[in-house]
Amino acid sequence: MTQSNNPASDVSNNDVIITIKDLNKWFGDFHVLKDINLEVRKQEKIVICGPSGSGKSTLIRCINRLEEHQMGQIIVDGVELSNNLKNIEKIRTEVGMVFQHFNLFPHLTILENLTLGPVWVRKTPKKEAEETAMFYLEKVKIAEQAKKYPGQLSGGQQQRVAIARSLCMKPKVMLFDEPTSALDPEMVKEVLDVMIQLSDEGMTMIVVSHEMGFAKTVAQRVMLMDDGMILEENNPVDFFENPQHERTQFFLSQILH
């Protein structure tokens, strides 16, 4: 993997871009997020790990309102998430999301997948949107596949297309929900490399992932979520080598066998 600069120096300013305050969410009676507090600064990279069902996906999905929260505040780039549709639309154009199962649009070509958002949401002229799309496809090293359909690509290629699709919207923040866990092992690296490159370019990223190498390379902070709570937070070296909370120790022992 490409070696990044010293992670701490990546954060060139201390401007907060995401604020989560006393966030609580229930699915029916099930308390899935419990009093979450989190501040993310511009250009910061945060990696969230934790056992399955602990609420990691739900937490990051609240940030672009794929899930609605019931209590607390989420403020993204100065805009508070509420039922105000305008705010939701604004936040969604500024927050990109990459899913575990890619969720490319199978009936559209790769290029059409990439231009759809810019053309319909940002109202970019088609030609310009296509140029931007090709630029990002080059970046994720897949430009020669532009005319193909998602079903004709490998998992790793699809996930790189999905990342490029988000980037075409020029987001300020990127959310990743276990971007490599649906991939065959030999394809994980090609996706992580793209993410590391993105990180080096100064993107603000929140990544749900258990890829320790990746976390060590890019993250300023790594967090452990369990049972709807953030139990531990630390820099990657101390988080993995010197975990404090017993749940963290247990979890790490599980993923390291």
Partner: protein
């Protein structure tokens, strides 16, 4: 562990086993592979031996094609004259004889439009406008009253043009209406949802015949005095409303089959509801349900023959009228075979079109 030795020469030498073909091989493979299959083959073979030659003899050898009904009565075989002699009546019904060229030209333009619609490479805005212009032109031709064309009251429209008119207008109007109903049924707004559910369930709860009766007999009672709505139009509306409810249920099935991830990806990009449906969900959902949709459309096409009961003279009615003429009495087999062939051609083209469309829209195929 050591490296496993590989006999490269052997691997290069071996070839896939050749399957013995030839007539005997083919027969064994396809007709006699197993007891049940062999039995079925024999039964079907016997059946064909018994019925096919007599049918061919009746239909083609002993048959008469262009005779009078008198000759027909004396002949052993099929009397296709019943059709050839009454051809124009069966096709055009009671439309004034000397004006038959008008429905004929209408149908010709209809078939031309259908031909171009069949090939996806011709799909364009131009084709859409051609359809709109074509439909208006057809209506004008049929009805007359302007451009010096003798007016023909709609009561005299009949035969194949009426069947095609009811079907094509009916199906093209029912399809979008059905899609809208399906979306409404899944709407977040309870008012819209309940309206759509009620509509769909009510319509599906009654047979088309009763809808046609309502449209032709009951509905006019509620119109203010002096206002009349054309009977064909009422039947057309009944067919549209009926078919739309069934389309809606089929489309809803397609919507439910959609992966949640597709909605989420669309949301995450910031697409609104209308864009998500139009650009992401419907293109995929409608594609999945092409086969059941075509079933609905095919049965709707056949069901247009029910308009007979409210005295519209469609193709089937024209055929029946022929049989009731004293001189052609007794040749119903021939006449019904002819009508069946026409209906079959219509249904078969629809199925064919849907299969072709499905293949062309299949983007999962690896090229």
């Amino acid at each position: 562990m050591a490296i496993i030795a590989i006999d490269k020469e052997k691997i290069a030498r071996i070839k896939p086993p050749v399957i013995k073909t030839g007539v005997i091989g083919w027969l064994k493979e396809n007709l006699f592979n197993g007891v049940i299959n062999s039995l079925l083959t024999i039964i079907i073979f016997l059946f064909m031996v018994k019925f096919v030659p007599p049918f061919i003899k009746w239909a083609f050898v002993d048959s008469v094609w262009f005779s009078t009904s008198q000759v027909c009565k004396e002949c052993e075989g099929a009397c296709w004259s019943a059709i050839t002699k009454n051809f124009r009546f069966m096709i055009f019904g009671i439309y004034p004889y000397e004006l038959h060229w008008r429905p004929f030209v209408s149908m010709l333009s209809l078939f031309t439009l259908l031909y171009f619609t069949y090939y996806r490479k011709y799909w364009s805005k131009t084709l859409l406008y051609a359809w709109l212009a074509g439909l208006v032109a057809m209506a004008v031709l049929m009805k007359g009253g302007i451009f010096g064309l003798t007016p023909v009251p709609t009561e005299m429209w009949g035969g194949l043009p009426l069947t095609l008119l009811l079907s094509i207008f009916g199906l093209t109007a029912a399809y979008p209406l059905g899609v809208i109903l399906a979306l409404g049924r899944d709407s977040k707004l309870p008012g819209i949802r309940y309206m759509c559910v009620t509509y769909i369930e009510l319509i599906r709860g009654v047979p088309l015949i009763s809808l046609l009766f309502m449209a032709s007999i009951i509905f006019p009672l509620f119109l203010p005095e002096g206002v009349t709505i054309n009977k064909i139009l009422r039947a057309q509306a009944a067919i549209i409303f009926f078919t739309a409810a069934y389309i809606a249920e089929v489309v809803r099935g397609g919507l439910q089959g959609m992966n949640k991830g597709q909605y989420e990806a669309a949301d995450a990009l910031g697409l609104n509801y209308y864009q998500t449906m139009r650009l992401i969900i419907l293109p995929q959902a409608l594609k999945i349900v092409i086969p059941p949709t075509v079933s609905v459309l095919v049965s709707a096409f056949k069901d247009t023959s029910l308009v007979v009961i409210i005295s519209l003279y469609d193709l089937l009615f024209a055929a029946k009228t022929v049989i009731q003429k004293p001189q052609w009495n007794g040749f119903s087999t021939e006449v019904y075979i002819f009508v069946a062939i026409l209906y079959f051609l219509g249904c078969f083209s629809m199925s064919n079109f849907s299969r072709k469309l499905e293949e062309e829209l299949d983007t999962d195929k690896r090229s």
